[in-house]
Symmetry: C2
DNA sequence: CTGTATCCTCTTAGATACTG
DNA sequence: CAGTATCTAAGAGGATACAG
C-alpha cells in the first residue's frame, strides 16, 4: 500500500502497445470511447449537436443517470463539448471537439462494419445451436 | 414468455443505422468486439495464435473465468477459432477467422489511435482539476 | 429542461476450489 | 493444461424524487 514509486512511474509512463498492462491509462480512455452508451452518443453527435433530452430520446434504453455519466466522462476526456445557453428553461447543447469528431468517425466506421457483418454472425450463432455430433 | 412473434421479427430485421434500437442484434456483436477483454484478445491474436494460459499471462488482470467467457463469445460469433490438439496434457490453440482478423485489424487501429491521443486526454483531465473560475 | 441524489436490483467479475 | 462450478464483492444501471 505504501510503495508508490512503482505506481507513479507506471501511470506517467506511456509505452506503446502497453494496453495489456492493467495500469495503462489508455485502457481507461478506450473503455470510455467504446463503452456501451459512448459509442451511440458518438454516432449521434457526429450527425449534429444534440440537447440532453434529445439524446435521451434517441438512444434507446439509456437512463438519465447513465447518459449524464457517459457525457461527463467524454467531456472530461476532451471528446465532447457542453454548451449552456442561458435561456429559460435552461438549454444545454452537446457537440464534439475536433478530437471527438475524429473519435466519432473511427467509432462509427467500426460500428458500420459490425452492422454489415452482423447477418453473418447471426448465421454462425444459429449453426452452433444445432446438436453437436 | 410465449409471445415470440414480436421478438422474432425484431431480431430478424436488420435496419442500417439502427444501433440506437435496444433490440438491434448488432449491439450485442459490437459489445462483444469492443468489450474490455475482447479488444485485448483481438490485438494479441492478431500477432499470432495463442494458447489459453498464454493469453491469461499476457492480458494483465484478466481472470480465467472472464478469459474463457470472452473467448467463447468471440468464438460463437465466428471471430475466433479454437483448435484442440489431442496431446497430453491437452493443448488448445486460439486464433482468428478471416472475419476475426478483419475485426482485429479495425479494433487495433482504434486502439493505436487511442494510445496516440492518450497524452492529450490526460492533459485535459488534469486541467479540469484546476479550481474552476 | 437539465441534471443530482437516493435507493435498490441485477449483472459482472474476481478468487478459489475442483474436474477431465 | 484448460477449463468449470461456486461463492461473494463490487459496480453498473434503473426508477423515482427532487433541485436549480
Amino acid at each position: 500500500m505504501s510503495s508508490t514509486s512503482q505506481v507513479s512511474r507506471a501511470t506517467t509512463k506511456l509505452n506503446k502497445g502497453d494496453l495489456c498492462n492493467p495500469s495503462c491509462p489508455s485502457r481507461g480512455v478506450l473503455e470510455h470511447v467504446t463503452s456501451r452508451w459512448g459509442v451511440l452518443i458518438f454516432i449521434l453527435l457526429r450527425q449534429r449537436t444534440h440537447r440532453f433530452s434529445d439524446l435521451g430520446r434517441r438512444v434507446g434504453g439509456v437512463s438519465q443517470k447513465m447518459l449524464a455519466q457517459t457525457l461527463q466522462n467524454l467531456e472530461a476526456d476532451g471528446f465532447v463539448t457542453r454548451t449552456v445557453h442561458p435561456t429559460v428553461p435552461p438549454q444545454v447543447e452537446y457537440g464534439l471537439t475536433p478530437i471527438g469528431l475524429e473519435a466519432a468517425t473511427r467509432v462509427q466506421q467500426l460500428a458500420v462494419w459490425i452492422e454489415d457483418i452482423t447477418p453473418k454472425v447471426l448465421q454462425v450463432r444459429a449453426k452452433r445451436v444445432r446438436t453437436p455430433s
